[in-house]
Each structure stands twice: as C-alpha cells, then as structure tokens.
Symmetry: C2
Subunit: 212 residues, 2 copies
C-alpha cells in the first residue's frame, strides 16, 4: 500500500510535543517519530498485520515511544502472553512506560509503572457504527494529556485521559463517520465524563453488622 512513500512532516508537525503514531507500517512510524524532535509524549497504535509480517520493525518502533495502544487480542499476540496483565507487563519491558489495552465495547485497561486502571465501555442504547472508536479513543486520551501538560503524566492524569478517551469513543459510535464527534460541544463532553463516573463508581465498603 505504502510503496515508496516517505513521510515528510511540516515544520508545525515537527514541533508537536504530543505525537500519535497511527496504525501504519512500523518503519514509517519510526520515520515520523524521528522527525518529531520536540515530542515529549509519543503513543503508537498498531495491528495484527504488522505483528505478523514486520515484527522486528514493530518492536523497534515500540521501543522508541512512551505509550503503546493496542487491542487486547493484539497485545496478547505481540507478547505471547495469554493473560492481559502479564501481556501488558511484557509490553512495558519493550520500552513504553504506559500500555493501553483497548477492549471494544467492554472498555479499556491502562497499565503503567505505578498503577493499573480499567474502565468499562459506556453503555449506549444506540450504537450505529463502531468504526473509528479506537482512533477517537486515542484522540480523547492524548488530547487530554496534551492539555494537562504533556510529558510524564501521573496516575490520576492518565486515568482521566482514559475516561476522556472513552467519552470520545462513545460519541463516535453513535453515528456514522465523524459526524457526531465533529459537532461535539465541550458541555456534552463534560456531561458524559460525569455520566461515566456515575456508571462505574461505587461506594467504600460498608459492611452491615452481623444479623441472622
């Protein structure tokens, strides 16, 4: 598909502090990465095709980023670990300090050196088109991290970024293409962020006193 394509970034793009290497051939991802000299946080997405056909190049690309974003099945395939937590640990050993496992309608999980986090998918009654959910997630996730300061995010910031990614993905699947997301207003995003908290939070333990 890519033939002799060599990515050449504009000056503006080269100056980006937050970089998302979308799912393309890993050598091209590396070329893009190398041009982003100002990058403070680089995330990489990939897929089963590159794991199967160009694994060596993919491993080099992964070693050069801060964050790996993959479907859970691909994370298992990449590392040969059937258990998701172990697969994420093995992926961190490849270089990235942050690993995000996308789990489709079931949500996503986050692994980093100092924490583990899991968020369910937002439960929608109308899902029209799941296409692009993963990229919307990455957009919300990295967009929040960028606004929150960019490099070296702490646990609480990463968790919020996961929730914003999930919010964006949940809007994306409500309509075909990018129509729903393109028309989003900040209030709608904040409202769903809070709805996500209500969906997934529960109170501290309050064990009842022993009764019959």
């Amino acid at each position: 598909v890519f033939g002799d394509f060599r990515p050449k970034l504009s000056e503006d793009s080269r100056a980006a502090e937050m970089v998302f290497l979308g799912n393309i051939q890993p050598d091209l991802q590396r070329e893009v990465r190398a041009q982003c000299e100002a990058a403070r946080f680089v995330a990489l997405d990939s897929m089963n095709l590159w794991i199967e056909t160009t694994k060596d190049a993919l491993l080099k690309a992964i070693a050069e980023v801060h964050c790996l974003v993959l479907n859970d099945a691909e994370l298992r395939m990449l590392t040969g670990e059937a258990n998701l937590a172990r697969a994420a640990g093995a992926a961190m050993d490849l270089g990235p300090g942050v690993v995000v496992a996308k789990r489709g309608e079931y949500g996503a999980a986050l692994f980093h050196r100092h924490g583990v986090f899991a968020i369910p998918g937002y439960l929608l009654e109308d899902v029209r088109d799941p296409t692009g959910a993963g990229d919307s997630f990455a957009g919300g996730f990295l967009g929040y991290l960028d606004g929150a300061g960019g490099g070296d995010p702490d646990d609480a910031t990463l968790r919020r970024a996961m929730a914003y990614g999930s919010v964006l993905a949940s809007f994306n699947v409500e309509d075909f293409g990018t129509e729903r997301v393109a028309g989003l207003k900040p209030d709608e995003i904040e409202e769903r962020y809070e709805a996500f908290r209500r969906l997934s939070h529960f109170d501290q333990a309050a064990l009842p006193s022993e009764s019959a």
Copy 2:
C-alpha cells in the same frame, strides 16, 4: 438429567429471605421458588439450553423473581436484542426489577429502574480456573444484599453488591474448585474490595486551562 426429580426444601430453606435459583430446568426453579414463602429477594440464573428448549417455562420463572442474572450473550439471546442496554431493558419488562449481565473476564453490568452500573473484571496475573466464577459472583452479590437488609436494595447497595460479587469471583478463579474461596478471610475480601475501587475509579473532570 432431572427425570422425575421434584425439589422438596427443608423447613430452614423454606424460611430463607434471600434465594438464589441456580441454573437448572426452569419448571424446577419455579417449584423451588413457590416453596420459599418468606423470600424477600429472589435471583435467577439460567443458560442458553433453557432459552432454546424450554423458553415458555423460563419466561414464567423469570416473571416470578426480583433479579435476573445471565451472561451478556444469553441476555441477548433471551430478548432478541443485540444491544446489551436494550436487552436488559427488555428483560426488566419480563418482570425482574434488577438485571445483572455477567461479562466473563470483562466484568459485569447492572441494570435496574433507577440506574446503570458497570464494573470491569479484576485484572489478575494468575488465572488458574474460571469454572464457577459466575456462581461465586452470585454468592458474593446476594450474600452482601442479604447482610445489607435483603429486599428492595437501593442503587448504592446494589453497586456494592456487584463489587463484592466481583471480588468473590476474582478469588475463585485464582485456584481450582472452591479452595481459594473456602479459605478466604474477611480481611482479604475487604482488601480486594478496596483494590477494585482503586482499579476502576477516576477523579472528577479537571480540565486544564487552555495552553498552546
């Protein structure tokens, strides 16, 4: 399998206020249900076999309970709704005020008249045997509801019960059979409950001020 088996409960069992109708032939579940005259909260589990072979009896059994507990795929099969939230709504229309969708390693979702809740699965590095996870979940879920007062639980109580169910299921899969759960101490349960909160909670929105 069951032949001419007719369940006959002991006096103690008949006096139970909290009843779990485990996954057996639906007419037998109804016979058990009818004998539990003191029951204030009855939950029912079932499976694809009964949906396919004795659906009418199953629908009658479901109409007589407060809570339906099914795998998400079975909930879709029962109701003919591909969307989980819609399937849960259709299941509530059959009678139960509370519907729990079990999602295997991805956790579980709760639907009732006044709320929706979803909890991810606890992320374990060592899963030895998933057998019995669903029943352990039901045990933790109903055990907590029983201790918390039994009938007509509110949203916060149901959420805690979901978390305790998930805690028990997470212990169950750590070892074969019931060994791990049988040896559990209350402190271990409380500790994992809090670990579950840490796993799945995130802070309120804190949008950064616009920067370049």
